[in-house]
Symmetry: D2
């Protein structure tokens, strides 16, 4: 029998992407999709690609209905899941938050970056950071998973082997990252209009971005010391895709290509490209992969790691489905087996 | 001495385009630029391309300041100019409205399509429709000019010679038009986000669009009989440019290429391409031209006219500057002499 | 046991799209993929989205290997399949040509438009035009299928119900069509460079395009009289997607919405949208659907049909897989069940 | 009287951009435009934006005609100007090479990166590197100017004040750069097709790019010691624009904002944005500016400099016109006074 799944706040891009992926999942059934604003209207009227796949209307969120689900995704803005998760967990429903409510363990840091009081610090403690390549066993056992941010997924997977093995100077790590505009969500805003963000490129939030402390927390945990990388995000004139260009200095000799290939040999969704490659964001368009390539210009101690994901898939909904599969005891790659769409 | 010019509502795309064009105009001085919302902030903070060119802050609109101008442009939403124009005209200030308030002579038709009561029907009667290729002499003498819509400019210039000479079946005219998203303005809206309108194409408003009655009015006036073309607009995944593909049936034999070349021989901004050409929107990017090519597939009675403009230039701000030059007795092409930006 | 499948000329966009779709097909195995130029190099080195999905090298084409396949796709330029199909058919291998070699029944017409002598006129006679919505039974029984062109698929499906029922004036049909650049293939050419075709829009081949006689042939067959629509293609600044805007005049009263819904009620890949809709190309990105909407502006006798497909899927590789499924006796929608990628 | 100007190889993007800019130059006349391949065809047939501006045909290159010019631009591939410059210089014609033939002083380095023997090492010695912000006086006196590369212009202007003042650790400089596809030129190539480079992002040439030694040479000259920055270029899915994100470590305390403002106070084409800004490539689209913003995240010793140019203007043709103005004793900003095209 299929497990019932709920999605709270399914009118954004992570929502429609969850619907697209789950619509072909053989073991779960999307039974409840909420939107306060669009309650009563058909899901496929808003997202016509789902005509014939999702025969549902948006409902106003209601805890009774949600708590009948085996698992509920929160595809909501920051600050929503932290108020609703406890009730669902108490009812035996598992929860994955695609927003940032449970990502940062230090409540003071979270409150500073997200500009609000945290409503459930105790759940932050319980929540597992949903990067399967790092925390697979804990995710399998978790009731509550904090799905990682899009940039942190690309950056962390790109640096993980080097940090785990202690091979780089941790004071000298730079993450120059570039994202398509779907990362900004499906909100009406001037700066992401096609007439503003199209045919244009710029950096943003150079003074500080919320994903920096998330990356710093994960890398620090791995390194058992404080790591505080420089993080500069940029906005790409395209819809999907993140490219992280990562700079580090080797502090010990290392053979990078086998290091990465061994670290990720059993990972279904991390693909280490042949030496000298340049991964393209389009190679993962619509797919749950992170593709990584390693460079050492002039064979010096400078390492350049290139890491690409689809921000809506491995950077959000795909990784959430991967986590769901783990939490429900299903094959990890169920509903995630499609190659990217190229061209 | 330079004439003082005001722009009401200069925070949209027609506003910034007026500023770009007028900043190099030798005979006028932009002296007053208004925005209720952004009063007090620098113009070039919003539009950094104007750094070094426009040393002004936005002001709250005030009739005293505006009426010191020789001419005021309204780059406002529909329904604003009709409330403010009379005061300025009374003070001796000329007015060009880039919105639709004075375009449609039949008040009932206007009120139906624009969904509000008209505040100054008498001024509608006085206003001259600002298509220089049709009404140059009246524009020169006008106090109040209704700057044409973007689609109507491309469609009307494309059909004008055929309608003037009575060469086509007027019951069988189709205008299939395509516009870049800047035509929708600089408003925060979901459907013109890069993530929605990018990498996508669709028709819209097939049931009826406000530019259809404007086109019908002009063509009917020329033909001295009612013309009611089929008009279907589409949204292009790009920023600037309109392409009108116009279909008509010849009702009499005609030699199209010389007909168009002669009609537009003295027009500074209409360029009839060699027979067999396919005009590209990029050939007019940033320039005030309308480029037209004529086709008669299989040499039958079917005519296909291709007409391109930059919707923000010949379709809005450029044509408005052209009208201003005429109204102020200046050389018609002043500040409009730059070629398009290609690639 | 899986059937062996070959693809001749798999380095173009229809080739990689066939590989993407077939890589998840449970009943067939891609066993042989040819490219003269890239023989010996890995398929997934050229198309990195297929890493982990297609573990093959390109081979030089060889008839022995191809004739071991149950079915061979020709994803080659025009003029190749007509020279090779007979040998394969003789060996019992079925053939689907994605190029134009077998689409036009009148050899003289074909030779005029394609600029070469036809090498196997007899096979043209035998070949079935692979539009399942029109010829499903014949396709099931066919050895040789001519996969329809991309524009003809969108246009024919958009007009089919009207022409079958004899409801429109056949002398007055206009197809204004717009295509993404992937329709031009993966050839190094100046006019489809991003710096040329990006941020730009133009018509092309207004004097005549090869897809016009193909459309005319199909509509004439349905109507049992000569139909010769006006056909004007345009190039969109995007990768995938065709939008056909179709104009016709009703010659008899008709209720369009139920007419189309009934005609396509049992079609798995034609989706008639609710009245008043505007189909978007992105709703079918990567999916095998044709989505159609019907309009009758002002409730007059003018019909406007909007029809969208992904030119690489329903317009090429997806339709070819649909035809293959029919020819091999498999469920028609196998490997074609994914929704489109939106945004 | 206007000076005669020639352009060799005017069919590429730097060529058409030179034509666009020079067509409004009051002091020079484009008298001779060459293209071996297109000799005899009209310039404005290839570049329709120039209809009405450039009334010329392409000619086959001929030294007599070129040597009648006051100055000749080489907008040719690498390796052409080095063979032809001497003859023109001997005839008293000044030369600006927009390719790389005279940029690198160390012939061995040049030959390694450009893969050919240098034909005129003596001229390399004489040539002045045409970055006016660095070498204005020498450019004024030069017969032969090597116009800088696009990336080197953006990177060098972004780092110049820091290197001149000796404020940064020169072993730790990283230039993460991103360019629109027009930087790859108007050549028919698969990887810059819209269907390949559109909606996609990737790094390239991470192992080594020709612009790295050019940047290293200039910075080393300024620093009077060897500087060898890490340089990683990326390809943006858009036409025009370069964004350099530059990382350096302060080795001494510095007040960056006044440092840059003072260094560039008298520069007509370098614009230092207010502290905290994020320059956008579109703010310089079609304009000759370099816009720079300075960041020091967390007020630590890490400096992030953001630098944008239009690769075809300040990165190529605009800078070449600026150099021409200096070499011919004209006002430096003649024909370069237009603001960027936004949106």
């Amino acid at each position: 029998m299929k497990r019932k799944i709920g999605i709270v706040g399914a009118t954004g891009y992570t929502g429609v992407e969850l619907l697209r992926l789950l619509s072909s999942h053989p073991d779960v059934e999307i039974s409840y999709v909420t939107s306060r604003e669009h309650a009563g209207s058909r899901v496929d009227a808003m997202f016509p690609n789902l005509r014939g796949y999702v025969d549902l209307e948006f409902s106003a969120p209601a805890n009774d209905a949600l708590s009948e689900c085996a698992l509920v995704f929160f595809a909501t803005p920051n600050g929503i899941a932290m108020k609703s998760a406890q009730v669902l967990l108490d009812a035996g429903t598992k929860v994955i938050d695609l927003a940032a409510d449970f990502r940062i363990k230090d409540i003071a840091v979270w409150e500073k970056w997200y500009g609000m009081r945290h409503a459930s610090p105790r759940l932050v403690e319980e929540a597992v950071y949903g990067l399967p390549e790092l925390n697979r066993a804990q995710i399998r056992a978790a009731r509550l998973v904090a799905n990682p941010g899009c940039y942190p997924t690309a950056v962390t997977l790109g640096l993980l082997p080097l940090v785990e093995k202690g091979l780089i100077d941790l004071d000298n790590v730079i993450a120059d990252t570039k994202s398509g505009v779907s990362g900004a969500g499906r909100k009406a805003e001037v700066h992401t209009l096609l007439a503003e963000a199209g045919d244009n490129f710029k950096a943003y939030a150079v003074a500080g971005h919320r994903h920096q402390p998330e990356i710093a927390q994960t890398l620090s945990n791995i390194a058992h010391q404080s790591v505080n990388p420089v993080f500069v995000p940029h906005l790409l004139p395209m819809i999907r895709g993140i490219h992280a260009t990562l700079y580090a200095k080797l502090s010990a000799e290392a053979d990078l290509q086998p290091l990465y290939q061994q670290r990720y040999a059993n990972e279904p969704f991390v693909d280490v490209l042949p030496a000298g490659s340049h991964p393209e964001t389009r190679s993962v368009r619509g797919a749950n992969f992170c593709r990584i390539a390693l460079h050492r210009p002039g064979n010096g101690d400078q390492v350049v790691v290139l890491s690409v994901i689809d921000n809506l898939v491995k950077g959000a909904a795909g990784q959430a489905v991967q986590n769901m599969n783990l939490m429900l005891g299903l094959a990890e790659n169920t509903a995630l087996r499609q190659p990217g769409l190229l061209p």
